[in-house]
Amino acid sequence: MALLEIQDVSKLYGFGDATTLALDEVNLIIEKGEFVAVMGPSGCGKSTLMNIMGLLDKPSHGSYKLDGRNTERISPNQAAKIRRDTIGFVFQQFNLLPKMTVLENVALPLTYKNMTLTKRLKMASNMLERVGMQSREYFLPGQLSGGQIQCAAIARALVNNPKLLIADEPTGNLDSAGSRLIMELMSEIHRMGNTIIFVTHNPELTRYATRVVYMHDGTVVQDEKTALGQVAPTARRAMYNVARLSEEEALAGVSAVMRAVPTKPAKRTLKPTKKVTTKRKTKTTTRKGARS
C-alpha cells in the first residue's frame, strides 16, 4: 500500500478575480521507502504541496490519503496528532526555537506526547547522537553553523520516529559543505527505511534521491526514477544548461535553470514513469498566478 496518495489535489488562494491556483489537480503516489526529490521553479507550488502532504494545510479540492487514511475530514486536533506521530518536518529556515537549547528543541515534539521530562531529554539526546550532534546538546541554535542547526532540525523531525520526513529546501540556506552534510545524513536515514520527500533547486542533489518529481505552475510535469548516486537525467540536462546561461537567463534565476523541464503537464499517471520521456524542446514560459 502506498504511504501517500494524492489524487486531483488543487489549492486555491484568494477570492474572486484575485484567485490564484497554487496546485492544479496534482496526482502523486509515493511508496514507502522512497527518497523523492521535488524540483521546480519558485512559485510552482512545491511548498504548497509539501504543506498539504504534511497536514499543515488542507487542499481546496481532491483527496489525500496518508498511510491509508483519508485526511479530508480530519479535525485540526487529529491533524496535529498525525503530525506529531507520523510526520517529521525540516524547513529551509531551520525553525528551531532560538531561546531553547538544541536538546530542548529536539525534545519539543515529545513534549506534546505526555512524556516525562527525563525520558524526553534522553530520547532527544539519543537522536542527537545519531545525527552526530551530541557534543552540541546545550548550545543555543544561534551558536551553531547552518549545517549544524539543520542537523538538529533533522534530529527533531526524527525524534518521534515518523513514517514520513518532509524537508522543504533543507539545503536552501546552506553552503555546499553544509548541504553535503545534510544530504548524507538524510540518505543514511533513508537507508534505515524512512520515506523522505525533499524539495531542492540543486540538480546535483538528485544524486541522493531514488525518484525525482518536476513541477511547474502547480502541476507535476515530469516524474522519473533515478539510480542512487546519479544525477537524474532531466535534472542533468538542467544542470548542463546552467553553464550556457545568458545574462537575461541569469536574471530569470531558477526558472532559467529549469528550462529543460517540460512546462506542459505530463500524461496523468498515478505510477511514476519508468522511462525518461522528455525529448521536447521547451522554453521558459512566464509564470502565471504563481506564488511561493
Binding site: N77, L97, K99, L108, Y112, K113, R156
Partner: protein, 407 residues
Amino acid sequence: MKSLAQGHVKMALTALRANRSRSFLTMLGVIIGVASVITVVGIGEGVKHQVNSQINKLGKDVIAVRAHNVSASEGQGIGVLSDFTVTTPLPESDYATVAGSRGVNVAVPFAIAGGQVKGDQTPTGEVVIGTTDQMPDLLKQDMAFGVFFSSDESDAHVAVLGERAAIRLFNENVPLGRTLNFRGQDFIVRGVFDTFEATPFSGQVDFNDAIFIPYGVAQDITSHTAALYEVLTKPNDPKATDQTVASIRARLLKSHGGQEDFSVLKSDQSLAATNAILDLLTKLIGGIAAVSLLVGGVGIMNVMLVSVTERMREVGIRKAVGATNRQIFVQFLVEAAVLSFVGAIIGIVVAGFGNLIIRILTNLQPVITWQIVLLATGVSMVVGVIFGLIPAVKAARKAPIEAFRNE
C-alpha cells in the same frame, strides 16, 4: 497529565526568562497593584492595632468626658468624619462636676494653655497642658527621668516635659532642675516622660511635644481661660463603668442646662469610632489600589497580545511538530498565570520592604496579614488568567500555515 502541566509551567518560565525585560514590564502593573494593596491595608491594620493596644493598656474602664457629642453608633459612612471636626472646650466647672459624680474614683483634667515658652533656646510656641498629679497613674505612663508633681504641689511652679519638648527647649535629654519661662512665670523642670506611644483619646495634641504643669497654676496664670478639652476619669468599680457614665452624663446635663454639648465616652466607644474611620479609609485607599491591580491585568493582556503576534512563528513551529490548539492555548494561558503569579510574589516582597521602610521612617507599624496577602495574590492570578484568555485563544486559533506565513 501531571507531567504535561509541569511541562507547561516550565515552558512558561523558560519563555518568560527568555524575555526578561518584557516580562518584568508586564509584571510591573501587578507588582505595583499587589504591593500597594498590601501596604495600604497593612498600614490601616497597623494603626488599628496600635490604637487598640493603647486602649487595652489603659484599661477598658477609663471614661473620657469631652466637648461635643461623638457617638460611635452614628458612625456610618462619611458622618464619622464630620463628627470630629468641631471641638469647643468644656467649661472649667465641669471638672468639679465630673469629679463629684457618683462612682468616680479619679478625675484628671486636661487644660490646654498655649503660648511662648522659653527654655535655653529661643522662645518657641508650645502646648502647655494643665493637669493633676494622678495623670501618669491613670494613663499608666512611666517617667524617663525625675518625678511627676505630687498632690502637695498643685500650686507649685513645676513642669514635666514630653521627651521631644525637653530636647526642643533645652537641647538635652535630662534637663532636670532647669528653668523654663511661660507667661512671665518661671517653672522648674521636675521630670521628663518616657515616650508616649500614642496620645490617648486625642488626635490634636502629641503628648511627647507637650509641657505639663499643675492644673491650678495653669488656670491661675491664664486667668481661668485654659481650654479644658478633656477630663479622664476612672470609676471606683470597673464593673460599674456604665452606671458611672450614666451618673456623669446626668450631672453634666443638669449643669449644662439640659444641652448635650459634651460627650461621655468609654474607652471602647472611642475605639469603635476610631476603628470605623480607619476601616473606611483603608477600604477607600485599598479600593484605589485594587484598581491599579486591574490596570496591571490590562497590561498583561496587552503584552501577551503583542507577544502572541511576535511569536507566531513559534506557534507555527510548535503546531508543525504536533501541538494541538488546546496545548497552545494552555501554554499561553499558563504563561499569563505564571506572569501574574510571579508578579504577585514580587509585589509581596516589595510590600515587605515597604513595610520595613515605613517602620523605620515613621512611627506607624503596618501589619501584613496572611489573608490580605492571599487575597491580593488570588485576585492578581484571576485577573491575569482572565486577561490572558484573549491572547491565548488568538494563538490557538491560528492555522499552522498562516502562523508560518505571518512574520
